[in-house]
């Protein structure tokens, strides 16, 4: 079974799960909070969860597509309002454990830093790319202003799934994206670059699987089916 972990409001996720042949199910925080679940440590393989009303043994899960960037307090309406911030932290901790303990492929595996992987914020992507030796675009950020200043101009977007570039640009950006995915241990990665006078330069990245792009969607579907087989 392929699990698609997503927000209850993510209609794209539900549609994507519906497109996967065989059994696939969407798992939401609402399922984890309300549906009976039994997660064991160290005997994790005996664990069960409930997704969309169905009890699933974790041994049945063959792959996970993680489309949940965060646990949203608004989805935890079953708790009193004053309890929700605490329950957000608890469910986040549960998900980090659950996604780490599963032996099957998880795209992308959560870390204690973030549910979408090891990088927390745009400045950290810049520092990661720099540590990988990828040339950086002209960028600046400061605590006295909002966000990252990166100027204008068209960007080049490259996505990598399972170590393969699925939207090649035919430039050095393809190799940079592969390097970055390897260094950060990302199954899915989307990186942005700009062509500056000195060459292709890194602008930013994210590791939240983009299923709205038809090309990425098809590549993710193919990859999931392959690794889940």
């Amino acid at each position: 079974m392929i699990l698609v972990l997503a927000s209850i409001a993510d209609t794209h996720a539900a549609a994507f799960a519906g497109e996967l042949p065989g059994s696939a199910s969407v798992l939401t925080c609402n399922d984890l909070a309300r549906g009976p679940s039994r997660l064991f440590h160290p005997n994790f393989s005996d664990s069960t969860i409930t997704a969309a009303g169905r009890t699933i043994c974790v041994r049945e899960i063959s792959a996970v597509l993680n489309l949940l960037p965060a646990v949203f307090a608004g989805e935890l309406s079953m708790y009193p309002a004053e309890e929700r911030a605490y329950q957000v932290a608890e469910l986040r901790a549960l998900l980090v454990f659950f996604l780490s303990a599963l032996p099957c492929p998880v795209i992308n595996r959560a870390t204690p830093m973030s549910l979408t992987g090891p990088v927390q914020n745009p400045a950290a992507w810049i520092a990661l790319a720099d540590s990988a030796g990828i040339p950086l675009a002209r960028l600046s950020a400061g605590s006295d202003r909002k966000g990252l200043l990166r100027g204008n101009g068209p960007s080049i977007e490259v996505s990598s799934i399972g170590g393969q570039v699925v939207t090649p640009s035919g430039t050095a950006a393809d190799d940079y994206t592969r390097d970055l995915a390897r260094r950060g241990n990302f199954d899915y990665l989307r990186a942005l670059y700009r062509h500056e006078e000195s060459g292709i330069r890194f602008l930013g990245a994210d590791s939240y699987p983009d299923i709205r792009s038809p090309r990425n969607r098809a590549a993710l579907r193919q990859y999931l089916l392959r690794v889940a087989a």
Binding site: L39, E90, R92, A93, M113, A123, D130, A141, G142, S143
Partner: protein, 305 residues
């Protein structure tokens, strides 16, 4: 140059800073309570560089060979009364310093990713077992029948947060569950034995036995006595600390009457100052920070400190 980011009145921060001062180490102390006066900027040209300014003092983060980071929750400090007095946004200060700290080649005690490992206690439990310690059997459930079965199997259970929020351990009593709407809760078999706190700094271990009757020694009457660890247990403690990517950790161990060693959790930024051997831990941390400078500049002979 060594960066220390924390509160001057925090005993652990002060203890490490005191040792660094005693060794005349060049230290840039960034007072976390002054976060509303602290500004951080990042530029990528001509190379990636971060600049920190606090009042009239400023420095470039890439000049540091080591850092000891013990920031607190800035929301605990009073903010300036008017927005115009705010030179920076504290959350951005944290983001930018964290971005540097995660990927710098400098020694960081501790990097944000390593520091984050106790945000999920069961994630840590996987690493603890991989390092060779036993961990208590745990169940996360919202199913009363499952709790009943687990309780019957283990006799006595404790329950505690899965995250590092409100992390207080309690022993389960039947009435605790009555009339409650349960979300997923973490239950653990209660392990009885000798509580031992171990601080690992690099390769060094400092152990302290804790005499207590409480389920959570932090909130019960307890007595701390320095002790030593068997060599193989010390090796496991160092291995675990390395697996978690931590140069410094506070491990909560239990030695059972049958001689088994359990590790309950690893504190990635321990407040070690209240334990026996606190001064030795502070000295070991300061030495780690100082030795990170060796490739850049000759360090003083530590034995003369």
């Amino acid at each position: 140059m060594i960066l220390v980011w924390g509160l001057p009145q925090d005993p652990s921060t002060r203890a490490v800073s005191d040792w660094l001062r005693r060794w005349n180490a060049p230290v840039f102390f960034l007072n976390h309570a002054e976060i509303y006066r602290t500004a951080v900027s990042m530029t990528t040209q001509p190379r990636l560089s971060f600049e920190v300014t606090c009042g009239a003092r400023s420095c470039r983060l890439e000049e540091f060979s080591a850092a000891y980071l013990r920031p607190y929750n800035y929301r605990d400090y009073p903010a300036p009364e008017t927005a115009s007095e705010l030179p920076s946004k504290p959350a951005m200060v944290h983001h930018l310093i964290s971005a540097w700290a995660e990927y710098t080649p400098a020694l960081v005690v501790s990097r944000p990713s390593a520091e984050g490992t106790n945000q999920s206690k069961l994630y840590q439990a996987i690493e603890i077992r991989a390092a060779g310690f036993l961990t208590p059997e745990s169940l996360v459930t919202n199913d009363p029948a499952a709790i009943g079965e687990f309780h019957a199997r283990h006799g006595s259970l404790i329950y505690k947060s899965m995250s590092n929020v409100r992390s207080i351990v309690k022993e389960l009593a039947a009435e605790d569950l009555e009339g409650k709407v349960l979300g997923p809760v973490q239950f653990q078999e209660r392990i009885h034995g000798q509580n031992i706190r171990v601080h690992v700094a690099g390769e060094e271990c400092f152990a302290c036995a804790i005499e207590t009757d409480g389920a959570d020694y932090r909130y019960a009457d307890s007595r701390l006595v320095p002790t030593s660890l068997p060599a193989d247990v010390a090796r496991r403690a160092v291995r675990l600390t390395r697996r978690l990517g931590l140069p410094l950790a506070g491990l909560d161990l239990i030695l059972t009457p049958s001689g088994d060693w359990y590790c309950l959790e690893a504190n990635p930024n321990p407040a070690f100052a209240c334990f026996a051997d606190a001064d030795c831990v502070a000295q070991a941390v300061a030495r780690l920070l100082l030795e990170a400078r060796l490739p850049l500049r000759e360090a003083p002979a530590l034995s003369e400190a």
